[in-house]
């Protein structure tokens, strides 16, 4: 599904200064697998997500990324989305005045167009979204509000899950999907993600805390420190981290 080879990446700030963040990431994710990437603040987890999605000012300086055989680094963000990549944002963005349903319809049909599929008409779309919103256990009134405008933190995160359910990505990356959520909201988000799990879809969970992984059980856990993956293991690695913290790994890297 996803192959990352020796990825080095930098962030460019407004003054065009570049700051190297990722120092040789290697990652192999098979179809159907859920990988958790854990690490302390500033370790480069979110940078990795943004580089994968092709955000401006996040530049891969070395290495390669393939998603289902496609060379992601040559694609625009919208082309990466069409290739099956979905990023659930840590801070979902508000788009005032743009109806949530209208936005989703434009997104679904834009992706279908990229994929040379016929666009959904209003009726088909409505049928689909009504089913999905039930699945996400959200109120239909969400659809008639402007995208994320005035949404609570939990509503925003759930709206991301709704979008994910609608767009059915091959690879979903969830950046801090659990941040700022109470336990009920966390469970709902986890249910949404779990309902998407199948043998063809891969998921990357980026998270600080082990808490989310109680609800979404990962196949593989990676520890990221200072732009490198320093250890990979099974789900028990997350528990170990919870117990011991990151200091042991940080000391390893700096030593």
């Amino acid at each position: 599904m996803l192959t990352i080879r020796n990825l080095h990446a930098s962030i460019q700030d407004e003054k065009q200064n570049t700051k190297p963040i990722l120092h040789g990431i290697n990652l192999d994710i098979q179809p159907g697998e859920v990988h958790a990437i854990m690490g302390p603040n500033g370790s480069g987890k979110s940078t990795l997500a943004n580089v994968l999605a092709g955000r401006d000012h996040y530049q891969a300086t070395m290495g390669e990324i393939f998603l289902q055989g496609e060379n992601l680094l040559t694609l625009l963000p919208e082309q990466r989305a069409a290739a099956g990549l979905f990023l659930a944002f840590q801070y979902p963005v508000e788009i005032p005045g743009v109806n949530n349903m209208y936005f989703l319809k434009a997104a679904v049909n834009s992706l279908r167009k990229h994929r040379h599929l016929p666009e959904l008409d209003a009726m088909d779309f409505l049928t689909l979204i009504k089913a999905k919103i039930k699945e996400a256990k959200m109120d239909e009134k969400f659809l008639h509000r402007a995208v994320n405008e005035g949404f609570s933190g939990g509503e925003k995160k759930r709206n991301e899950i709704l979008q994910m359910l609608m767009l059915e990505p091959a690879l979903a990356i969830l950046d801090e999907a659990d941040s700022g959520l109470d336990i009920d909201a966390l469970q709902r988000v986890a249910e949404g993600v779990n309902s998407l799990r199948n043998s063809k879809r891969s998921i990357i969970l980026i998270t600080h805390y082990q808490r989310l992984l109680n609800y979404i059980i990962p196949d593989v856990v990676h520890v990221m420190i200072k732009g490198k993956i320093v250890k990979s293991g099974g789900k028990e690695l997350a528990l170990e981290l919870e117990e011991k913290g990151y200091s042991e790994f940080i000391n390893q890297v700096t030593a």
Binding site: R55, D56, A81, F103, A107, S110, L167
Partner: protein, 480 residues
């Protein structure tokens, strides 16, 4: 990087820039009492009209052009302008569509305004003004059944002089300002609407203005009278050919709403804006004002201003009648070197009068966008209310947005609210949309449309669609 994309999106061509080759009856440039009498004579006007024009002219001579607006443009030489240009017709005026020159019909078809019967399907009655004269008014008969008068201004002067004499200049006096005086002296045509008591106009009325001839000023005048308890929705559209020199458009619109009457006036203004370097384009100096004379009357202005090199325009409402309502919804877009100084005046005189102002300014390229508003509450206006919201969206680092709101309250019971915000399309918003599969083009137009939504919601359906498309076209390459 994203700025480059916005640039691409905002750079498309003005599609209405063609010139129609047609024989015209055109005066030599210049303005004098003689020219004014000639105009009046061409129009077979009654004596009172010529006298009024000449008084306006005398007054105009005492005035100087207003300098207070946030606009920069070269001095206009009023002696170089042609004040009358009309397509040549064998007879004094077209009596039916069959008599209208086919070239004209073709021009309007190109502009997407069907003058023929298909217009009825759209439910819109159209009056079309080509340069200085009105060439055709559709659906006159159907409207006549209801007693609605919808015709060119010239016809109204001929057939309903009593209404003209009673209402002309009563909302916008020729003493009002420089351009209103000039218009009164030389206006050549325009539209006239009268809705009788208790009648709800069965269709949207629409006027389409087109400037074709070179060096010609267009001075039209529109007068709409809604008698007691009547209702009318009126649409106005404008285009002009692409020319390197500037052309002057100085119109006057007067609305009168009597007791319980309602007038909804929507404009999609797409005069030629000039090229990317600011060559050419229309100078649009327009005075629009409505008077809510009767109790519980309502006047609502909605404008989408995307064209013109210069826009100077403040559609206003005088709220005389108790419980009357005034509204102003505006989207003004300036791109390249366009400049707009636009807004409204809400003058509260009657008791319990209410007004709403929603202004959305979008600036791109080197565009300068100014909101200028006045909310005045007279001592008589007990419990007047106003809500104003003016928002600016900046699409480049070289554009400007300016706000000059003036609030003048002389009654303690008034309740006035004013909100304002300035924003940009953020990189976050663009990336978010693109991550969901939208192209930059779609993302920018979606965000801009979202910004304008409150105003678009006020437009009649068919205009709302046109307005959205127009924004996409007008957002030509300008962010950097």
């Amino acid at each position: 990087m994203s700025n480059q994309y916005i640039k691409q999106v905002v750079n498309q061509q003005y599609p209405y820039g063609f010139v129609t080759d047609i024989e015209t009856d055109t005066f030599a440039p210049g303005l004098s009492p003689h020219v004014i009498s000639q105009i009046s004579k061409r129009k077979n006007e009654p004596e009172f009209m010529l006298a009024w024009r000449l008084r306006a002219y005398e007054h105009w001579l005492t005035l100087t052009p207003p300098k207070w607006a946030h606009l920069q443009y070269p001095e206009i030489d009023y002696q170089k302008i042609i004040y009358y240009s009309a397509p040549k017709v064998k007879k004094p005026g077209p009596n039916s569509l069959e008599e209208v020159d086919p070239t004209l019909i073709e021009t309007y078809n190109k502009l997407g305004i069907p003058l023929h019967e298909q217009a009825r399907l759209a439910g819109v009655a159209v009056d079309a003004v080509f340069d200085s004269v009105s060439v055709a008014t559709t659906f006159k008969e159907k409207l006549a059944e209801k007693g609605v008068i919808f015709c060119s201004f010239s016809e109204a002067v001929k057939n309903h002089p009593e209404l003209i004499e009673k209402y002309l200049g009563t909302v916008v006096s020729f003493r009002d300002n420089f351009f209103a005086a000039l218009n009164a002296a030389v206006f050549t045509d325009g539209s006239f609407v009268y809705i009788p008591k208790g009648v709800r106009c069965p269709m949207e009325l629409s006027t389409y203005f087109r400037i074709n001839a070179a060096n010609t000023g267009q001075f039209e005048r529109t007068l709409i009278i809604a008698d007691e308890d009547s209702h009318v929705s009126y649409l106005e559209g404008c285009t002009a050919p692409m020319r390197d020199e500037n052309q002057l458009h100085a119109a006057v619109v007067e609305l009168v709403a009597l007791q319980k009457a309602e007038i909804k006036y929507s404009t999609v203004q797409n005069w030629y804006p000039g090229d990317a370097e600011g060559r050419g384009g229309i100078f649009n100096f327009v005075t629009k004002r409505g008077a809510c004379r009767g109790k519980q009357s309502k006047i609502s202005w909605t404008q989408i201003e995307t064209g013109s090199a210069i826009t100077w325009k403040y559609p206003s409402v005088i709220l005389q009648g108790d419980d009357s309502v005034g509204e102003f919804y505006s989207v003004a877009l300036t791109n390249h070197r366009q400049q707009a100084d636009t807004g409204t005046k809400m003058i509260h005189i009657g008791k319990n009068t209410r007004s709403t102002i929603i202004s959305k300014g979008i600036s791109a390229g080197f565009g300068q966008n100014t909101y200028r508003g006045l909310v005045r509450v007279a001592p008589t206006a007990l419990h007047a209310r106003n809500y104003t919201q003016c928002d600016s969206l900046l699409l480049s680092k070289t554009c400007g947005a300016h706000t000059f709101p003036e609030i003048d309250v002389k009654n303690k019971t008034a309740h006035i609210e004013h909100e304002a915000a300035t924003s940009r399309i953020s990189e976050d918003q663009l990336f978010y949309c693109r991550q969901r599969g939208l192209t930059v083009e779609n993302a920018v137009s979606m965000i801009v449309n979202g910004f304008c939504k409150q105003v678009f919601n006020e437009l009649p359906m068919e205009f709302a669609v046109e307005a959205q498309k127009l924004l996409e076209v007008s957002l030509e390459g300008s962010v950097g």
